[in-house]
Symmetry: C2
Subunit: 722 residues, 2 copies
């Protein structure tokens, strides 16, 4: 018997994990002719002169014309056409020609990384299909349809002429490479979304709005997603390569979104963005200073996969949105107001107050984020019961590890709403972000704490996203939650407890009949203002409340920085009545401590003298920054110069130092950055840029001013280029 080399006791299966690594098949593969009797004359052998990928018409048919990329880009499960020019007329009865698509370094038919399609005599029955559409002498036009779950990425294209001697293959030509993307237009694709308006918004829209501020004072900023900009698609594939995502998994949208959520942050895996909440961004760009994703992804790609500095939640969500839309997955950014970050996994957010009534920062480990941004992707979940398909939460801001890595999701929004927390992935964490109770505790010097008050309604107050084809917000809270206190809401909480969410073993909510809340109007940074404490007495007794109101400066993550105010107020409220107590807040007190995004956190801790009951409430006030103005001179027309003027005046009594001004306009100019060493009190800056529109349509100019003392001064201007 023939002896062979002894193989290893495990198969030598290697998983290709990079789209950049390529296998170069030989241009000629000889058959062992000693074993074969030639079946046909081999003279005048057929050869391939040219492959035309029909880029323009295929792209138009596949909704990929917007990509600034010269190669063919198609979507799964939709036919594209290729015309092959042979050296002589093609005979479909006699000639044996194969069309090959290869991806990665170890192409293999059984893994979907090596596609072989027959277009002549022989028939093949792989997952992709092909048909000859037309033969005109030497020209053969072939239709090719990738299967609905095929790998997403960049494939090499070859044409092979098979003779009895062997296989003659075309030489490698990157011009014939084809990108295959997810197809939200096709019902067989995992990411199919039925409405065309949804596809236009969630896949095709490359400029969006991300909401921030506070739930009763919603603010927003524009974001350039830029998924079609030159180099962005390659950057997105590079992200998957750096993340060593096996090619065989890249046709599975569940895997792509789970891994994508891990790969937007640099933790664990050299992902795209470095999170930073420290206020020191000197070695990079401040999270507040970015105007869109393109600059970030291109920087990441130029560096060959070196993480970009710095991001906070909206930057993570913005870039993840670009990544998903670029690959063809319907995606949107969600803002959750009052988002709990439950470090201890117990569905309680503990706010510990010290003996004076201020937040005890060493003992308060949990926090309620003023707002938190994540993403939703729309897809079938073939791994779950049908009712959990649809919108799925993914969150790439590094908060907690999920099964060992910093990532979160996909979590079915429907499952969160029903409290069905057993199914993958991370439903528990998302559920806690929306449904945690806030427990106010008071601590003494021995380290003992006791519960002052429980607020079950503070967290997950409001969830919004940009409305389809409009710049206003859509309230999506009811996708995530039944109304607070309703029967269905109770059922959800029961379901959650049956799935291992710890039971609420703390004190029941006090039913004092007396409630307090805090309010203020829209206030600009640097203003003095009145904070109103409303005390509502629903009981039949007069009540006297003795309240301590503390004010501190806070990050948007709810982490307090400096205490700047502590006041005592006593109010007597008649039965069935509300009293207003006014608290004077002076800019001179808070200005020295202000941190980025200018949030003030007020906590009231009260005691009802008549009953001894305690109650608490908190409120975040987001101060508005001064205005940046953007104007254009003239009517925007294609090919005609247009002047853009961005201006700003420093309204403060202090100097603004190291000021960065960004001007960004997708499809008009690359991001422009201008820096000013300082802007004097009362001083103004004006920046002018001349642009020449190359294409007509709606364009959005985004202007942004950022410095350590003043973050997120942003404005936008929509223009229609004629």
């Amino acid at each position: 018997m023939n002896s062979v080399t002894r193989s290893s006791g495990r198969g030598r299966v290697r998983f290709a994990k990079s789209n950049l690594d390529e296998y170069q098949p030989p241009t000629f593969e000889a058959f062992d002719t000693t074993l074969v009797t030639p079946r046909a004359p081999t003279a005048n052998a057929l050869s391939v002169l040219d492959i035309d990928m029909r880029v323009v018409e295929n792209k138009r048919a596949h909704n990929t014309s917007s990509y600034k990329n010269n190669n063919l880009i198609v979507r799964r499960h939709q036919e594209f056409i290729i015309t092959i020019r042979f050296s002589q007329p093609f005979n479909i009865q006699w000639d044996n020609v194969l069309l090959e698509f290869l991806i990665g370094s170890t192409p293999d038919v059984s893994r979907g990384t090596y596609i072989i399609l027959s277009i002549g005599r022989e028939k093949s029955d792989g997952p992709w299909s092909s048909r000859v559409l037309d033969i005109q002498g030497n020209y053969v036009t072939v239709g090719v349809t990738p299967d609905a779950s095929c790998i997403v990425g960049r494939f090499q294209t070859f044409v092979v002429v098979v003779s009895d001697l062997g296989k003659q293959r075309t030489v490698r030509n990157t011009d014939t490479d084809v990108y295959v993307l997810f197809n939200p237009w096709d019902p067989a694709d995992q990411v199919y979304i039925p409405r065309e308006s949804d596809r236009q918004e969630y896949v095709m829209n490359d400029v969006g709005i991300i909401f921030n501020g506070e739930f009763n004072n919603i603010n927003s900023r524009s974001w350039n997603y830029g998924q079609f900009e030159q180099g962005v698609l390659d950057a997105c594939l590079l992200v998957l390569d750096v993340g060593k995502v096996p090619l065989t998994y890249r046709g599975n949208a569940t895997q792509i979104v789970r891994r994508g959520s891990a790969l937007m942050n640099s933790q664990d895996d050299d992902g795209v963005l470095v999170g930073n909440w420290s206020e020191d961004y000197s070695i990079g760009t401040a999270p507040t200073a970015w105007t869109g994703s393109t600059e970030i992804l291109l920087k990441y790609a130029r560096g060959g996969g070196v993480p970009v500095c710095f991001a906070q939640c909206w930057v993570f969500a913005g870039v993840l949105n670009t990544f998903m839309r670029c690959l063809g997955i319907p995606t949107r950014v969600i803002t959750n107001y009052c988002s709990a970050h439950d470090n201890t996994g117990n569905l309680k957010t503990d706010i510990v107050l010290d003996e004076d009534g201020r937040v005890d920062r060493s003992r308060t480990k949990d926090s309620v984020w003023n707002y938190h941004c994540w993403n939703e992707v729309y897809m079938k979940r073939p791994d779950l019961p049908d009712r959990f398909s649809g919108w799925q939460v993914i969150d790439c801001t590094p908060q907690e590890t999920s099964d060992g890595l910093y990532r979160c999701g996909p979590t079915s929004v429907n499952a969160v709403k029903e409290g069905e927390l057993s199914y993958p992935f991370d439903a528990r964490f998302v559920f806690a972000e929306l449904n945690s109770d806030v427990i106010y505790r008071k601590s003494d010097k021995y380290g003992n704490t006791n519960v002052l008050h429980v607020d079950t309604a503070y967290v997950g107050k409001l969830l919004v996203t940009k409305r389809v084809n409009a710049n206003s917000y859509e309230d999506v809270t009811s996708n995530y939650k039944y109304p607070e206190g309703s029967e269905r809401d109770k059922q959800t909480m029961n379901n959650a407890e049956n799935r291992g969410i710890p039971t609420r073993d703390y004190l029941p909510r006090t039913e004092a009949g007396v409630t307090i809340d805090l309010k203020a109007e829209t206030i600009k940074i640097g203003d003095n203002f009145m904070l109103t404490m409303n005390v509502n007495n629903q009981t039949s007794q007069t009540c006297t409340i003795n309240a301590t109101i503390s004010g501190s400066v806070a990050f948007y993550t709810g982490i307090t920085s400096a205490n700047f105010m502590l006041e005592n107020k006593v109010a007597t409220v008649n039965p069935q009545n509300t009293s207003k107590v006014l608290i004077n807040v002076q800019a001179v007190n808070y200005m020295p401590y202000l941190v980025e995004q200018a949030n003030l956190l007020f906590v009231v801790q009260g005691r009802i003298e008549e009953t001894g009951q305690t109650l608490s409430a908190m409120r975040v006030i987001t101060l508005r920054p001064p205005e940046l103005t953007i104007k254009v001179n003239g009517i925007p027309r294609v090919g005609k110069d247009l002047m853009v003027i961005v201006s700003f005046r420093n309204p403060y009594t202090f100097i603004l130092k190291n000021v960065q001004l960004r001007l960004d306009a997708l499809g008009l100019i690359p991001t422009k950055i201008k820096t000013y060493d300082q802007i004097q009190p009362g001083g103004s800056v004006q920046y002018t840029e001349t642009i020449t529109p190359q294409s007509p349509g709606r364009k959005v100019l985004i202007g942004l001013l950022d410095c350590a003392a003043l973050r997120q001064v942003i404005n936008q201007l929509e223009i229609i280029v004629q």
Copy 2:
């Protein structure tokens, strides 16, 4: 207002991930006495002279006496007692004393890493509870009960006397450290298992049997789990430290078993064992040469967490069994005969035959392991519906990554049986190991393949584990599968398809009415033997079968090494009849190619002349190694010398080189290793060791001989020490 340092915008939450890192609390913490009025005289202050952990009696009550470890070891949710000796009589009305248990570098009450229990005036209400059992003058005896879900690991113990001036703490003393383990005896613990006999087998038994061989010729080997041996408990905690498992997760059995399964293999995370199936083990110990876990875990710990070379599946399963039993989680080793390793995740195992009928090794990427060992752990799954509690599969042999890391499980056995594959973790992979279909394909030179035959019954033939309190095997197949072809089985397959398992889109099973199988008797390495091919004809026509039988040498993983035989046989079988065809297999043909564990794989590919139908079958024959004998001279008695004689004769015509002989006997001697440069053909070796039993009872002596040419020559002898 008081100014404070500006904190970062994210909480500085650090997760302690090591039990070895310690926080040293100060021995005195002063209160800020300027703010406090002393409430009692501080003269004659109480102080602590001694803490008695009552090790012997506590260990007896907690089923931990077997651990060779001088510290106290207790189980969760069961009271243990401590006696504190004070400098003066203790007054429960006046004195304010705290008992503290700390784990890790950042102990924190809200995370369960800092336990504070009051045993005097003040009351505390943390998760652990305490009560004063007895006061005898200066001596106070306290009962302490950890909560049922508390962290498992080694805690520091302190006693604190609180006065108005501050807290006086005892100095660090490692003798008072206490290990807290899972408690399978307690109904409130996640790992509770009701029957005492199960606890004795699955937690307390430190010697076991692992089954191997083939499903109709079951073989076994003894394994020393050694979970109570000196240093093993610390080694297991070190594994979790090396794996950076946050201390806060270490009370959650689901997390411990999932992470444990990742940490037994060195891939990703510097876990305990390096997998090697290459036949070259020269830089370490051959997987076949180990006799138990102790040697491996202690080597890992001595190296400070350097992975140990080498392991295959039974070694991984054996060490994981030790790890789990050591921490108190009921665990057993399962052997699955004909275990599919489905590389492509499609529930099909493709065996590709070449044009001659031999296994085409370059095209066969999947394999059916002759046997594969994994573990089951018994636990509640609070994260899942109730019916999925009970036995859970975990598998630490690195086969495929699960969510990015090499690990598998916990997977509910019940969920696998029902085809409920949505729930975490890895149910799909385990399901495929048991339920894949074997597809025989024939390939031609163009790379085209077509289906010859489908066998739905080959994979997952039999699952066994060691019987409770016996050395025989228990058949647990029905825990995993309904009978092949039954209604419930079909329902399971339907459920699986509804959970995203690809549909069976290949050819239906041929209903030819003709079946073939291969058989052989028990055969020793080096024997010539007869292989029998049975052709059964259930049709009413005579059939003539033209069959090719190929023989190759194979690893236990199903990977073939060398082809050594190819024969053609023609048989004519009458209607309703069976024909036997005998094939002569010569040792001279297979001996030169034999690989470890000596498996021969025979594949038959047949064609029925009358109908043109094709069929295939395969069979693995495991050849038996020669015998190793173990004897003792004299009656084993405590304190009396006993002579153990291990002997072996080389029955072959070739020299055995670099032979390693191991003798292992838990509780009698540490593992002894003796090496022989060579054993001549027909030559014998005899190894004698004198041992002196230190304790009475049943002991198991395991002898093992191992060299490159002959693996897994193993025997055992049970003795009763009087």
